[in-house]
Symmetry: C2
Subunit: 104 residues, 2 copies
């Protein structure tokens, strides 16, 4: 028997993406790094809330941070996260008609 896929670890990563604000932040970070204050403006939540969302994503390995003066800049750690989104689009698209990843 092979080591068998570790679904617990994988689920943790996916779960870290499964929140509207976190998804919006990942989407924004695709264009380059941003500080927590910018991300707060983006999602319109309390700074502490945004900081906690980021720490969840950081623990999951989705983003990494870098201090620069007073600011903390976050960036995607793995660029493919957004290709990833294509499949999600496909699920949504499939609600109306037939289409999948390759098409989008």
């Amino acid at each position: 028997m092979m080591p068998k896929v570790d679904f617990v670890k994988r689920a943790r990563i996916i779960k870290a993406m499964g929140h509207p604000s976190r998804l919006a932040m990942l989407h924004a970070l695709a264009d380059g790094e941003m500080c927590v204050c910018d991300l707060r403006d983006l999602v319109g939540a309390d700074l502490s809330t945004v900081s906690k969302h980021l720490s969840v994503m950081k623990r999951a390995g989705l983003v990494e941070d870098r201090k620069e003066g007073l600011r903390v800049n976050y960036r995607l750690r793995v660029p493919c996260i957004l290709d990833f989104m294509n499949c999600v689009e496909a699920v949504l698209a499939r609600g109306k008609k037939t289409a999948c990843c390759s098409t989008l």
Copy 2:
């Protein structure tokens, strides 16, 4: 301004994948449809628990079902769900060294 991505809908889809048992089921369903009873054996939970997991994924548009005699068979509704996993692998791999989607 463009219609702006609906992160709530997308997050719901992703969240439906963010659970070890559900991930294991999606993984198994990649090889073809399975009845709830087989999936129960796979994840080792109560039949009612498995049924609820499946209904979450069905509502999210990840799977669809089909009755066949006494059984209810579930199958993936969007095949790309597993390509999707490649990026998750990349996040895990990045924990040790540099690698991403294209490499896996």
